[in-house]
Symmetry: C2
Subunit: 138 residues, 2 copies
DNA sequence: TTCATCTGTAATAATAATTGTTACAGTACA
DNA sequence: TGTACTGTAACAATTATTATTACAGATGAA
């Protein structure tokens, strides 16, 4: 992963969590992330298709969480956002070499195990718990 | 990670492991990975600086493993190769928003934990064990 | 010594991924 | 009917990654 999608998505969801059901506009969210509103809308659109967010068009529109933050696991978010293997791409090696012929298969196994380990780590964390970190200790 | 460095490095080390001390040239290695020899030399140079490989210039030169493959952990390799945070970059958010001001710190914590979990998974795997996968079952 | 073979490294080009920008149709509310 | 939004496309700009070429220097062998 060499993009900021996970950070962006988590930022959006955190804002929505803390907003407690109040609709936020993409412009406002973009201001907090310091990103172009169109990019934010793209990510929102993605998160909406994945069921994390529900949004409303038109005047007074904006978006809210579609599910309680206590039920949203960061592992779900990771899996939804992921576009690239955790440990990077593979090459297209030479099949006439024994290593070349088999390495992608063995790398896949390795990557799968690695992802599983990461996922089970992220399963322990909810969006709600993440959002709590931003509240004053009082 | 959206590059093939981990795959490339592991490919190189696997070839060297299976070569059992025989020197391999960058040209030969490049042929197996199906990559430009200069790129392979760059990666070899990196692995040499990190102590995984020792190489010899000149006629009959090439490289070998600098340490027994049973002692090389895949977690070391990951840490050596890693150039980008596991879950991707962060944004440069707006500090006048409470979430914007704190999110990178909390993301860092999250990323650190995630990496730790991945690392402890990869610690269980040696280069030797990985290399075994390429040997015929007999 | 001279040649062929190889590493090490730099410089540069080409390609691909990522992010940023602008624009505008369509929706919803007042 | 106007204003404030979303949703989406088309495109530009930037950055990351991979590929290519070139060549100095090391090493061993003829």
């Amino acid at each position: 992963m060499n993009n900021a999608k996970f950070a962006t998505a988590l930022h959006i969801l955190t804002l929505l969590d803390l907003a407690q059901g109040e609709r936020l506009s993409s412009e406002w969210i973009a201001g907090s992330i310091n990103l172009n509103p169109a990019l934010v809308r793209k990510e929102i659109s993605n998160l909406r298709k994945l069921g994390f967010i529900s949004s409303k068009e038109g005047n007074g529109g904006g978006c809210t969480l579609a599910r309680p933050s206590a039920e949203i696991l960061l592992s779900e978010l990771y899996q939804a956002i992921r576009v690239v293997p955790l440990l990077g791409r593979s090459n297209t090696p030479n099949p006439s070499c024994i290593v070349g012929r088999l390495i992608n298969q063995h790398l896949d196994e390795l990557y799968t195990e690695a992802e599983l380990s990461l996922t089970s780590q992220l399963e322990k964390k909810t969006l709600k718990a993440f959002g709590e970190k931003f509240k004053p200790v009082s």
